[in-house]
């Protein structure tokens, strides 16, 4: 494989990884904000305020967990792809 092609592949991998990371953070923040809105209204009703806050907390934690796992998976993919590209580059150099 040509060094130029490998450089492009590595660049594309980095860009994709950074884009997924940024998208997961931004979308996660937006979803958190939207998730809080109905709970904020419901929490104003005193009799149900306490359970609403508990459900909100659980909801936010689950949402956070989902986005965290996406980011974690993305980093793992990046590491594996980076390792694969290193190996390919090593083979190409030996040839």
């Amino acid at each position: 494989m040509q060094p130029e092609t490998l450089r492009h592949l590595r660049g594309a991998k980095d860009l994709l990884e950074e884009a997924i990371e940024a998208a997961a953070v931004s979308i996660g923040d937006a979803q958190m904000q939207m998730t809080r809105q109905p709970y904020r209204l419901l929490a104003q009703i005193q009799p149900i305020a306490a359970p609403v806050r508990a459900i909100e907390e659980a909801h936010l934690r689950i949402t956070d967990g989902v986005y965290y796992s996406i980011r974690l998976g993305n980093r793992l993919f990046g590491m594996v792809a980076g390792y694969a590209l290193d190996r390919i580059e090593g083979v190409a150099r030996r040839q």
């Binding site: 592949l9 660049g11 594309a12 980095d14 950074e18 979308i27 923040d29 937006a30 939207m34």
Partner: protein, 305 residues
């Protein structure tokens, strides 16, 4: 980077096209992150960067002439934008070589970088080219498509400001579909972006943030910015001593049609009518870079005294 002559003739492929599009959209970010997709400005021959050394230049240009023609593509493009569809060996550069003896040099650059940055980089590159060129250079003509025209204006300005030798050789500058007064599409994009940020909603804010990630090169097209810190292009004088020609198109055959008046060539509004302005009705923005009618006009202007 490899020399042009070390590989057989090849046109830029899909990977190069995709890389050019990504550079146009996020080129400043790629450059900042030292990403492998970022394009370094260079003259390209057969899809390879040309090393500006006397030996490499002699190999890449076996029959140089004293008349140079520099072609600068537009946003998200590469030098393949000049190739005629179905006739990849023919372009304004090759045709000017065959008809009038100009030696063409096709620039490829990161179109997402700020236009003033690319202008300054082209100024330095042209100085280097003329320093290693195997013959005394009698004349240089510059042809810029779309954003390329603004990059040329910037290069001429920076070169003239520091008294660069190459600037005195420039006889003609052709601006093809160049948004000297700003591109309506980016002005609309800026407006939409502002509205998205103004609406108090997380989704519209998110969409606004995504749209804000577009490159500085695209943002500079809003006013046709050529200089850092300049509010518009009005601050940049036209290069003295050179003839300036403007070529524009319209989306419809009738230039008076509402669509032509609203959308110009699809991306850029035509300039005011004038002596060195030529309008090509029915030729859209991208087509302006490889049209036989446009070439005939360029050749006529080049052949005139």
């Amino acid at each position: 980077m490899s020399d042009a002559t070390k590989k057989p003739a090849a046109a830029p492929g899909l990977a190069t096209t995709l890389a050019s599009i990504v550079n146009g959209c996020f080129g400043d970010y790629l450059s900042q992150r030292d990403n492998g997709l970022a394009i370094d400005m260079a003259f390209y021959v057969h899809n390879c960067a040309l090393s500006l050394t006397p030996d490499a230049l002699c190999e890449a240009v076996p029959e140089p002439t004293g008349k140079l023609c520099v072609l600068v593509h537009g946003l998200c493009c590469h030098e393949g934008a000049w190739d005629y569809p179905g006739k990849p060996a023919r372009s304004y550069g090759s045709a000017l070589h065959d008809d009038l003896g100009y030696t063409p040099f096709f620039l490829r650059y990161n179109t997402g970088l700020p236009i003033p940055y690319n202008g300054a980089a082209l100024d330095a590159l042209l100085e280097k080219l003329l320093a290693v060129y195997p013959l005394p250079v009698e004349e240089v003509i510059l042809i810029g498509h779309s954003m390329g025209g603004l990059v040329l204006r910037g290069a001429c300005h920076f070169g003239a400001e520091r008294g660069a030798a190459w600037v005195s050789k420039v006889s003609r500058v052709f601006y093809i579909g160049t948004p000297h007064e700003g591109a309506a599409l980016e002005q609309l994009g800026h407006l939409v972006n502002s509205v998205l940020h103004a609406v108090p909603n997380p989704i519209t804010h998110l969409l606004g943030d995504v749209a804000s990630q577009r490159s500085q090169g695209i943002k500079d097209l809003r006013h046709g910015t050529v200089l850092d810190g300049a509010a518009g292009i009005a601050a940049v004088p036209w290069l003295a001593g050179a003839q300036h020609y403007m070529i524009a198109g319209t989306v419809t055959d009738d230039p008076g049609h509402l669509a032509a008046r609203l959308f110009g060539d699809g991306l850029v509004q035509p300039p005011q009518a004038g002596e060195n302005v030529r309008l090509f009705p029915g030729i859209a923005h991208m087509e302006l870079a490889h049209s036989e009618d446009v070439y005939d006009q360029i050749r006529t202007w080049c052949a005139s005294a």
